[in-house]
Symmetry: C2
Subunit: 362 residues, 2 copies
C-alpha cells in the first residue's frame, strides 16, 4: 500500500476515513501533489501521463513530471485513467446462474484468466434469470464504461438478447441469439455426440444405445445428430429402439436402466454424467457390471462426479474453461462480421474405465 | 442506452469508437453539456450533483442544474462519481478458487446478492492460490477504491493475510487468520458435527461411527468435538474404535467401508457427501442396504450429489450462501472491535432418506 510520508497537511494520515477502504494511515498521493512538485498544472500532468503526443508538451516539462511521479511514488488512479481514456479495463460478465452452478463456474475461470492476462478485470453479475437485475447490471456496466460484455448462460440454449445490449460490444457465451451481428461462443455439440459414440464404436461396439435428454436444447439435437453421423461413418444402420429419452439427472438414468438392459445394447452414451451415475446405481442393483457387462460413456466431465465413480467414468468434456477464455478473446478482438458468428469449441474425449472392448461385453 | 440526439458536433455519433463499448451510435451526455446548458461551471454541476450542502450554491442555480440534467437525460458517470466521493460502490472479492470450485460458488452467490441489494457490485478475482495474481488483484482493488475486501477460500482453514490487506477494510470468509483485528465469517463446525451426530442419535442409534477427514482443518477438529459433545449430552460413552479417518473423497469412503461394517455401527457420520457416496458404492457391492442395514449422514449438502443419491442422502449443509452474504454485511457495517471477531454461521440439518430408526437398523 502506497503511503505518502512527504506531506501531512491535510490531516488525514492516521485517521479512519469513513466509507473508504483505508482504515489506518493511508493517504494517497494525488495528481495535484505531482503537479505542485513539478511546477505544472494538473492537466499537464494528466496529458503527460496519458502520453498525448499531439499535446506538444516540452520534453523538459515531461521529464519534470516523470521525476515528480517517481519521487512521490505516484500511482495513477485507475478510475481517473478510465475517465481520461474513455474506456476502462473492465469486461462485464452477465450470467444467469453460472457463478453458482457447479460445473459451469469454469466459464468464469476461463474468462477471468484470459481477461487478467490481457490486463482486464471481470465485473461479474449473476442475475439468476431476474430481468430487473439484468437491466440494472447492464446499466451499471455502461456507467463503468466496460470494454465489452460477455452474456453467458449455464447451459447451452437460445436466448433473446436484452434490447440494451444490442448496440454494445457483446459476445454470447454458451448461448446464441437470432441476430447475425452477434458473436457466440458455444460447445460443438455435434462433434461432441460423435466423439461419445466413437468412444464405444472404436472399441468394437455395434449396438450402442443413446440416452437423450427430454429438455429441448442444442445439446439434445446436436449430440444425437453427431451420434447418427458416427454410426453412418462406420456403415452401421441406426436402430431407433436404441434411442431413449430421460430427464438429465441421476433419477433419469435409473428410470431408463431397465429398457437399456432389455435392448441388448453393449454400450450406452448418456446425455450427461449424472444420467450415467443413476444408470450405474440401477445396473449395480441388477447385478450388472460396468464395463464388463455393459460399457457406459457420460458427457460433461463433471467435477466431483465423473472421475470418482466406480468405475471412473469415461466421458466427453464440456469445454467451459475454453468457452469463457474464447469469449474474452472475442470481446477484445471484436471480430469483423463475417456472416458466421458461431465460434464452436470442441468437446474432447476423457478416457477412464467405464468402456471395455466389445469382445468383453456381453 | 442513452443517446444524445441534441448535439453531433464532435463527429462521434454513428461511428465505432474503438476500444469502447459503444459500437453504433453512442455519444454520452457529459457533465460539460449539462454545465453549458445550465450556464454554470462543470465544478458547480458536480457540487450540485453530489449534494454538497456546505458548498452554498444558490437554490436557483441548483434548480437550473437539475433542469439541465433532466433535459439532457444526463446519467452520472459512475467512475466520475467515485472520484468525487473518494470511495466506490465496489466490493472486492479475492478468492483462491471458489469461483471454480463446485459447491463453494454459493459464497459468491450470497455475497453478490447482498452487495447488489446494498447498491454495491462485486469485483471478483480468482487467484488459484497464485500469490502474484493475489498481489496484483489487491493493488487493482486499491486503484479502483473498493469499499472493502472479502478474502475467501474454498474450504475453511487458517490463512496468512497478505501484508497489503492488513491496513484495509478486510473481512475473511470461510477462513481466519491469527490477527485479532480481523473479522472472519466461518461455518460453525462444532455445532455442525453435533447436528450430524444428533441426526442418528435422535433416531435411537447408539453405535454411531464417525469418519473424519485426514486433512488437518477446523472441520476435522470442530466436527469431531461436536460429535463427542452430542454423545456426552446423551450419556453415551465414546468408543474410539468407531472413529475412522479417510481421504475426503468417494475413494476414501470406499476404503473405510469394510472397517465400518466390522465395527458394528448402526449409523455413520461421514466427513462429507463424497465420502458418503463412496461408502454407498462399497456397501451396495457387499449387499448392505442404506438405511435398512446401516444409516448414513453426509456433510456439505453438495448440489448434484446429495439429493440424487440412492437413497437420497441426509446431510448437514455447509452454509456457503450465508457465509458470502454475512461477509458483505461485515464489510459494509465494519463492526467495532469487540475482541471476538469470529462470526459463526450455523450448519443446518437436511433430512432425506438415508437414516432409519434404530429399531429398523441391524
Amino acid at each position: 500500500m502506497r503511503v505518502s510520508a512527504a506531506r501531512n497537511d491535510e490531516g488525514r494520515d492516521g485517521e479512519t476515513v469513513h466509507g473508504s477502504v483505508y482504515t489506518r494511515h493511508a493517504r494517497h498521493v494525488t495528481l495535484k501533489d505531482v503537479a505542485e512538485l513539478a511546477g505544472v498544472s494538473v492537466s499537464t500532468v494528466s496529458l503527460v501521463m496519458n502520453d498525448k503526443k499531439d499535446a506538444r508538451i516540452a520534453v523538459k516539462t515531461q521529464e519534470r513530471v516523470h521525476r515528480a511521479i517517481h519521487e512521490l511514488q505516484y500511482r495513477p488512479n485507475a478510475l481517473a485513467q478510465n475517465l481520461v481514456t474513455g474506456s476502462s479495463k473492465f469486461i462485464g460478465l452477465v450470467t444467469d446462474s453460472i457463478a453458482t452452478t457447479p460445473f459451469a463456474g469454469q466459464i468464469i475461470h476461463g474468462a477471468q484468466d484470459r481477461a487478467w492476462k490481457q490486463g482486464y478485470v471481470l465485473l461479474i453479475v449473476n442475475t439468476e434469470g431476474n430481468e430487473s437485475i439484468e437491466r440494472q447490471a447492464i446499466r451499471m456496466f455502461l456507467e463503468y464504461k466496460v470494454h465489452g460484455i460477455l452474456y453467458s448462460t449455464w447451459y447451452h440454449h437460445e436466448i433473446t438478447l436484452p434490447e440494451s445490449l444490442k448496440d454494445m460490444n457483446t459476445v454470447l457465451v454458451n448461448c446464441y441469439a437470432d441476430d447475425e451481428n452477434l458473436t457466440s461462443v458455444v460447445p460443438d455439440e455435434f462433434n461432441g455426440g460423435r466423439t461419445a459414440a466413437n468412444m464405444l464404436l472404436g472399441q468394437g461396439h455395434r449396438r450402442v444405445a443413446f440416452v437423450n435428454t427430454t429438455v429441448e436444447s442444442p445439446a439434445r439435437a446436436g449430440r444425437l445428430a453427431g451420434y447418427r453421423h458416427a454410426l453412418s461413418e462406420r456403415g452401421i444402420e441406426e436402430d431407433p429402439s436404441l434411442i431413449f429419452a430421460a430427464e438429465p439427472t441421476q433419477e433419469g438414468g435409473r428410470t431408463v436402466a431397465e429398457s437399456i438392459c432389455a435392448s441388448g445394447a453393449t454400450g450406452v452414451c448418456c446425455h450427461n454424467d449424472r444420467v450415467a451415475m443413476g444408470l450405474y446405481d440401477a445396473l449395480r442393483n441388477r447385478g450388472i457390471s460396468v464395463p464388463s457387462d455393459i460399457s457406459v460413456v457420460g458427457f460433461d466431465d463433471q467435477e466431483v462426479i465423473a472421475a470418482h465413480m466406480l468405475p471412473p467414468l469415461s466421458t466427453v468434456a464440456l469445454p467451459h474453461y475454453e468457452l469463457g477464455a474464447s469469449g474474452v478473446d472475442a470481446v477484445l478482438s471484436r471480430p469483423v462480421n463475417t456472416g458466421d458468428h458461431r465460434i464452436l469449441i470442441s468437446c474432447p474425449a476423457v478416457y477412464r474405465a467405464s468402456v471395455a472392448m466389445q469382445g468383453n461385453a456381453r
